[in-house]
């Protein structure tokens, strides 16, 4: 099964490259086959995955650049599992959407388009699968390249400036992250040891608090820009305006998640002290993103930007979920990443349909399109309700978990964040109503969704509905891995607190204190230590072992 990870990763790119050698009309079908293949593999992983086990359930570990300590390490745990599925599904959707509509219109560039899509999918999957920090950084940066071209070549309006701005802005963060990653590996290497970027090794040799603190911000810069978070979302409006819609669906739906994933997968376990130290700083950013994104989405009339700013708000939720530093908040964040991905992908595909009917992207010039398009309206309505996290949708459960986590950790932030829930109702509904309801303006056409678009949109919406019925699917599978990652922070910071930063506890009394602290403050489930077992080991069920002096 583990070998399938390689297939999963490289199939999209291989098919994309293969498409280069196909005749023009056929390339798209090959690319579609590739994305469906990846989807199939991803589904196989979901089926095979065991819900209760923490840690990596599948792993590939090969040498890559031994001199630099970089390994080709892939793996999948409960956090990446559904993000991989989301990626595969979104790409299959966007590829199918494009292929069925014979997009791009410029047949001469068709093969290029699908090659870039394939490359992008591989890069994103790579980021989700990488278990080597440098490999992660590599894929994280790599994914920008195809998007640079996709926006720049196939986009509209001021596309070149927009795409350049996007890539430079986002790379600002990720290049700092590269430095941070290298610094981490070097600082974590014990005297005379071999340098290693493997996440497992880095988690085993935590850095000093001082190092963690500056490296933390290098990573945070990368992730927050990518999401994007307020106030460093400056690239977003232009890029969203220019991006072709199937690509935008991916950009907004999937790429933004990589940032949040990075926080959870890398920052928390590798920089636990810094994460605890800067918890409130990131919470402030998250809450500000929620409020700002919502308020912006309020008054925007460009439909893409409404969705875009709403994404800022949603990513704000996900961020605060992760930085609740509790299993519940983080588990909710994982669920919410998938939910938001599904919702945004379908929103942008719907926006494509709206644009086709209204010939405008200005909400104030749209309206009444539900008239002869009940199915489209129904699909749009479901997506809208999921967007505003209507209770009963999986998005609500995600937000509920997140708010719960933050509520238990830092109550004030949760209360402020909950304002965002109410605001979301307004902007999401405004988008739906503005497009579908009221009178049909001149020049806007009300036309039912065609079968070729329906076969793409319907399955995605079906996933949204399915998840609404059983959000536990993701929550249960994510729980163990999430707890593992969060527990590192909890134990680290509690140990520091109990021992006054010495990192060691003397005696079982202190160990019990740490356990209590971790449970109380971070909601970490307490594992009953068996009688007779050393007290120090009983409370480190997950993550690195903290040394204990008896």
């Amino acid at each position: 099964m583990s070998e399938l990870l390689n297939w999963l990763l490289w199939v999209p790119l291989a098919f994309g490259v293969g498409a280069l050698f196909f005749p023009r009309g056929a390339a798209r079908w090959l690319a579609l086959a590739g994305s469906l293949g990846a989807l199939g593999i991803a589904i196989a992983f979901v089926i095979d995955f065991s819900a209760s086990e923490p840690g990596l359930q599948y792993a590939v570990d090969n040498e890559w650049i031994p001199d630099l300590g970089v390994r080709y390490q892939l793996g999948m745990d409960g956090i990446s599992l559904f993000l991989v599925l989301l990626t595969a599904l979104s790409w299959a959707g966007a590829t199918a959407f494009s292929a069925l509509r014979r997009y791009p219109e410029d047949a001469g560039r068709e093969r290029l388009y699908y090659l870039l899509l394939g490359l992008a999918e591989t890069a994103v999957l790579g980021a989700f699968l990488a278990q080597d920090m440098l490999l992660f950084v590599l894929f994280f940066d790599l994914m920008l390249v195809p998007f640079f071209f996709l926006i720049g070549i196939f986009g509209s309006g001021n596309r070149v400036a927009a795409t350049t701005k996007m890539i430079v802005y986002t790379l600002v963060g990720s290049l700092l992250m590269l430095v941070g990653a290298i610094a981490t590996a070097i600082l974590a290497t014990p005297e005379g040891g071999e340098i290693s970027f493997s996440l497992a090794d880095l988690q085993a040799n935590l850095l000093s608090e001082g190092s963690q603190e500056w490296i933390f911000w290098f990573f945070a810069a990368a992730f927050l820009v990518k999401m994007p978070a307020f106030p460093i979302h400056g690239w977003m409006p232009d890029a969203y305006r220019a991006c072709p819609l199937p690509v935008l669906a991916l950009l907004s739906g999937v790429l933004s998640k990589v940032g949040a994933y990075g926080f959870l997968r890398i920052v928390l376990p590798v920089y636990p002290d810094a994460a605890a130290t800067f918890q409130e700083a990131v919470l402030v950013i998250g809450v500000a993103s929620i409020l700002y994104g919502s308020v912006m989405a309020f008054t925007q009339t460009n439909v893409r930007l409404i969705a875009g700013y709403s994404s800022i708000a949603q990513l704000g939720f996900i961020t605060i979920g992760v930085f609740a530093l509790r299993p519940d908040g983080a588990d909710g964040a994982v669920l919410q990443m998938v939910n938001h991905g599904l919702v945004v992908v379908s929103i942008f595909l719907i926006i494509a349909l709206l644009y086709e009917r209204a010939k405008t992207e200005d909400l104030s010039e749209m309206g009444g399109m539900a008239m002869r398009a009940p199915v489209l309206a129904a699909l749009f309505l479901i997506v809208t309700l999921a967007t505003l996290a209507m209770p009963g949708s999986a998005n609500f459960i995600g937000e509920f978990y997140i708010l719960n986590g933050v509520f238990q950790a830092k109550i004030a932030y949760a209360i402020v964040a909950s304002i965002g829930v109410a605001l979301a109702a307004y902007y999401a509904l405004r988008l739906y109503q503005g497009a579908m309801h009221n009178r049909l303006p001149e020049g806007v056409e009300s036309r039912e969704i065609s079968v070729r678009d329906g076969v793409v949109l319907a399955p995605i919406v079906a996933c949204i509905v399915g998840l609404a019925l059983w959000p536990g699917l993701i929550l249960e599978r994510g729980e163990a891995s999430v707890t593992e990652n969060v527990s590192v922070v909890a134990l680290q910071s509690c140990t520091d607190e109990v021992t006054g930063g010495l990192g060691t506890t003397d005696g079982p009394g202190a160990a019990a204190e740490v356990t209590a602290c971790a449970e109380d403050r971070y909601g970490l489930p307490q594992i009953e230590s068996e009688e007779g077992e050393s007290a120090g080991r009983g409370w480190t069920p997950y993550g690195p072992e903290v040394s204990v002096i008896e």
């Binding site: 308020v295 519940d328 609500f396 509920f400 978990y401 238990q408």
Partner: protein
Amino acid sequence: MSATAYGWLVLAFPLAGSLIIAFGWRALPGRAAGWIGTAAIALAFASSIGALVMLQDEPAEARHLTSSLWDYASAAGLDIQLGILVDPLSVFMCLVVTGVSALIHLYSVAYLDSDRGYARFFSYLNFFVFSMLLLVLAGNFVLLIVGWAFVGFASYALISFWYRRGTATAAGMKAFVINVVGDVGLVLAALLVFRELGTFDYLDSFEAARETFSVNEGVVVAICLLLLVGAFAKSAQVPLHTWLPDAMEGPTPVSALIHAATMVTAGVYLIARMYPLFELAPTAADIAAFGGLATLIIAATIALAVTDLKRIIAYSTMSQIGYMVVGVSIGAYVGGLFHLMTHAFFKALLFMAAGSVIAAMANVQNIDRMSGFRRALPFTSLLLIVGALALAGFPPLSGWFSKDEILVFAAERGGMYWIFAVGGYLAAFLTAFYAFRIGFRVVAGDPCDEARELERGHLPHAEPTNPLTGEPEDTDVGFPGPEHHIAERAQPMAWAMGALGVLSVVGGVVQIPGVTHVIESFLEPTFEESTLFHLVPSTGAAWTGLLVGAVVSATGIALAYYCYVANPGVTGRAIERLSGVHRFLFNKWYFDELQDALVYRPMIAVGRFANSIFEPVVVQGIVDGAVGLVRGAGVLVRGAQSGFVRAYALLLLGGFAALGVYFLVVSS
């Protein structure tokens, strides 16, 4: 079958009905959708009775059964089941909801007949009933919130059912957003409960609350206040009430079902359901009661002034729910819930009658233009008067018993609670007056043009206009169809109205002081832990209260008769003389304007500010600033690249000079 199995069935039928209609909308011929919808609700009603029967079989102390279908979202220490709680309170609500709903569905089968969105309507309506039942059956806070929000959504969907009408969509949005505010309150309340008590389950949390909290402890008050946000938003209590009058944009059966009989009473249900918490937080309960009192008076005064038929009834609804909120807040659970039931009957009836009248008026809703329908619409007129009498609390109709039960309880509790009794009777007087403002306007007097035409056998038609703004509307899709339906000519409407008329008249018999106490004894197992439930006024006191109520009601009706039948001009003169007061009331105490100024406008202003100033200046400023800095440096570097080779040499040697200075400094 167990009671919980019936409970699941209660939920299943409406949901199935909704889905069948939604997916089969194209295949369903004629009124099939309507009949399917009605049948689904009727089956749900039957299942409710099944649940009732099964529940009564249980011993009294075991009458709270739970059941869970699956782990809805349980992970990371949170245990969230897809579980229901079947107990007397939820079964009582199920019976009211499904019973009234079935009748309203029946009415709608004919009323909406010509509408292009017929199937959509029934799908929504069935979904609403499902949501409402989910709300009342939910066994934990999360599922409660789900039902709560579903109800809000169904309400939104049905308010903007005629989605081509701008006022309707705006009203829907307003309703939805205010309801979401309520949802947020509930969510926070649930989180606080979980934080303090570690569970989302009703029964567990109530039990834990009794052990954990002392009376009036800050946390429990906070929980209750947050719950009240939800309850007030949903039940349209001041100040979160402004959506309800606007919600009258929906089709009349919707107004009857959702915005009178069922959904808006969810807040009352919530307070009753959460009584263990409220009894631990008397402060919060008192706040709720005062909110209810304020609402019932304010709404009654507004109902005196507005002229839109449906809006008058809507304000009356607010006012009546105010009674219920007062009731359940001060501990008159039986009275509150009893009034909830009777109100459902007579208010639904009033709306149905109003729908019939509006149809006869060719979609005109201004009562000033109506008069003399008694011959043209005899059946409707009769039931309208019955409904008005019940609303006015005229003996021996149902409203008389239920309302006074609450007020007597208030008086019985004494102390400050006398205020509620006095306020309640004051409002009852106003209620009687405006109820017959409607009754006499519609029924009495010379027939208006439309009534005359109807007497000649024609149903009047007019160009379709928006009843609120008077703007002409297109008839293509989604507006009231080309044909109207009045109860006199449409069998299903007549059946439904007839049934409700009977219930409005006799509904009071279940709880006559000293005679019957069906509701009280049925609900007792739910409220067995309550300290207030058992505080029952003496039969004498109860009858005294009823007597006062009857007098107040009769006085109000008499005044209305004086104003609208005996001296038709007197109201006009009164309006002139009291123009300030009238304007204040006619503008609904300026609540809309207040909300606009305090919430909506600031929000939009902040949004505009963010969009037009903050985003370009700060957010783009970060980008532009960095870019400008780099560009500026680039300009400098390129400027230094002057093309003069001697300048290059200068820089080269200058560079060395600098390097040399460094080396000289570090040299020992």
